[in-house]
């Protein structure tokens, strides 16, 4: 089981967190076109490589955070809480 480094709690079993998928920007609902909105709803880069995604520390600190994960190797970079920028590779926790 993957160890996911929660920015508050430290490394956690992935099963103790909730996965919320690929991170994407929400268009302005007042002005967006159907195409923009449905791109946000449905289309996904789905890369085989580094992916910025959303996790929720549901059994620990209950914070949503973003983390870059390599979808082929399972490698993880440093997590970020909302409002902060993704940083460099964190020390190897494994």
């Amino acid at each position: 089981m993957l160890l996911v480094p929660c920015p508050n709690c430290g490394p956690m079993n992935a099963a103790d967190l909730s996965y919320n998928g690929e991170s994407h920007r929400r268009p302005d609902p007042k002005t967006c076109t159907p195409e923009e909105w449905r791109t946000y709803l449905y289309l996904r880069e789905n890369p085989s490589g580094w992916l910025l995604e959303n996790w929720y520390c549901s059994s620990g600190c209950r914070r949503h955070f973003k983390i870059e994960r390599h979808t082929l190797t399972g490698e993880l970079r440093a997590p970020v809480l909302p409002g902060r920028k993704p940083g460099a590779t964190q020390g190897d926790m494994k």
């Binding site: 992935a14 690929e22 195409e35 449905r38 449905y42 996904r44 979808t71 082929l72």
Partner: protein, 431 residues
């Protein structure tokens, strides 16, 4: 065309003849030379790709086709699924589509002259809650209108069909009823791959194994490098060299996004592993295919005596196929809820395949904004069941240049138009 001799006919008499004369069988397919030009390039040597090639050749006379696969034939989802076939879907479009697939599976051994061992043993989808039972009724009613043999049966009837199930009322997940679909069953998945490969090869289709597609060549598109919408496909770049072709069909699972991105086409897909496992063999005791959506498990027993298990896809998107321990833990717990008597059976092997999941649990089929670039992707967990009909319909789509009625509901454009397919209406484990 037809430059190759038809394959040696398989039959019991042939088996006897060759056995007596100690004569060996010829190759099932050729090792073709790599050519730089084809009429059609099909990416993915699984059931979908091979069936598309086979029907292009057999139904439409198009035989100058290359099927390319980065590994060996059937190395992807075709060889990793749990080989269950059925047609009792929720929506009329789903039912019509899968029912045609079941028809093709029924006559496949004969059509392809290779026994795919279709075992029409009946398919049970268990309901543990009244809402699940309601959904079963819904499916049964839609099925009935389409002429599909599918009905909701009682716990007592379930027990009669499948004595190993615990139908008592005082369990954590009581079995309240089941959707029973007698025409559903299992099939030898590898045989389906080999049957189509052998059939396509006999028509002259070139099957290039260990040939990885590195890029899709597009001209005149509105995106970077001339790719993307309003472009035109000109071929593919592979690990063995470039192939020029006016038509490229993406028939991959697990890598559908990567390949489509190469053409500048973004898909509504995320890729998740679907895990499966088998036990050691025991004498047969489970006569039907059993599925429980609430418990995320499905199980059948092969003629070799192994129980084959599957579950729902893993929640975390990944291209890693190494499998997880928690899958086997949950699986075992849930299987023992259903069949408490098999705790001493042992899990022998687990594996995973990649599933391309779409938002409405339905595939993406047909043309794309790039001219000549077709997709047959997004098959989630039910690609194997749909292999034959997908091949047949994609072949018609490519050959005629129009989308056949049967796959119109599955066009890529539905996501920008917001007209999703209704299988999402009652999403459960869809096996």
């Amino acid at each position: 065309m037809g430059k190759n001799k038809p394959p040696a006919k398989y039959s019991a008499a042939g088996l006897l003849w060759r056995g007596l004369r100690k004569q060996s069988w010829p190759r099932v397919w050729r090792e073709p030379e790599f050519k730089s030009t084809y009429d059609v390039v099909i990416i993915g040597g699984g059931v979908h790709g091979l069936a598309t090639a086979y029907y292009l050749a057999s139904n439409h006379g198009i035989t100058n086709i290359a099927v390319v696969d980065k590994q060996y034939l059937g190395s992807g989802g075709s060889g990793r699924n749990t080989a269950i076939v059925r047609s009792n879907y929720l929506t009329p479009e789903g039912v019509a589509f899968y029912d045609r697939s079941l028809d093709l599976y029924n006559s496949m051994s004969n059509d392809l002259n290779l026994n795919v061992m279709f075992s029409e043993r009946g398919h049970l989808t268990l309901a543990h809650t009244d809402s699940a039972l309601r959904t079963m009724n819904w499916r049964a009613e839609v099925n009935k209108l389409q002429g599909i043999n599918s009905s909701v049966i009682t716990p007592a009837e379930i027990k009669k069909l499948t004595p190993s199930l615990d139908v008592s009322a005082d369990t954590r997940y009581p079995i309240l009823g089941a959707l029973y679909h007698p025409p559903g069953g299992t099939i030898r998945h590898d045989a389906v791959v080999w049957g189509y490969a052998r059939g396509a090869d006999a028509y002259g289709v070139d099957l290039h194994q260990k040939t990885e597609v590195l890029d899709i060549l597009v001209e005149g598109g509105s995106g970077p490098e001339g790719k993307g919408p309003s472009g035109k496909v000109t071929g593919v770049r592979t690990s063995k060299g470039d192939i020029h072709a006016p038509v490229v069909v993406n028939c991959t699972a697990g890598w559908a996004s990567q390949l489509s991105n190469m053409a500048g086409v973004t898909l509504p897909i995320t890729t998740h592993p679907l895990q499966a496992a088998v036990t050691e063999p025991v004498k047969t005791f489970l006569p039907t295919v059993v599925v429980s959506g609430s418990l995320h498990v499905y199980v059948s027993q092969t003629d070799r005596g192994e129980l084959v298990f599957g579950a729902s896809v893993d929640p975390v998107a990944t291209y890693n196929m190494s499998g997880t321990l928690e899958f086997t833990e949950e699986l075992a717990g849930h299987v023992l809820e259903l069949m408490p008597g098999i705790s001493k059976m042992r899990l022998l092997r687990q594996w995973a395949g990649l599933c391309d999941m779409t938002p409405d649990y339905s595939p993406v089929m047909g043309p794309t904004p790039v001219d000549g670039f077709y997709v047959d992707v997004g098959w989630g967990t039910y690609g194997f069941k749909a292999g034959p009909v997908s091949g047949e319909q994609m072949a018609a789509c490519v050959a005629n240049g129009t989308t056949p009625e049967l796959i119109k509901p599955f066009e890529l454009s539905r996501f920008t138009e917001g007209t999703l397919v209704g299988e999402k209406g009652a999403a459960a484990v869809g096996h």
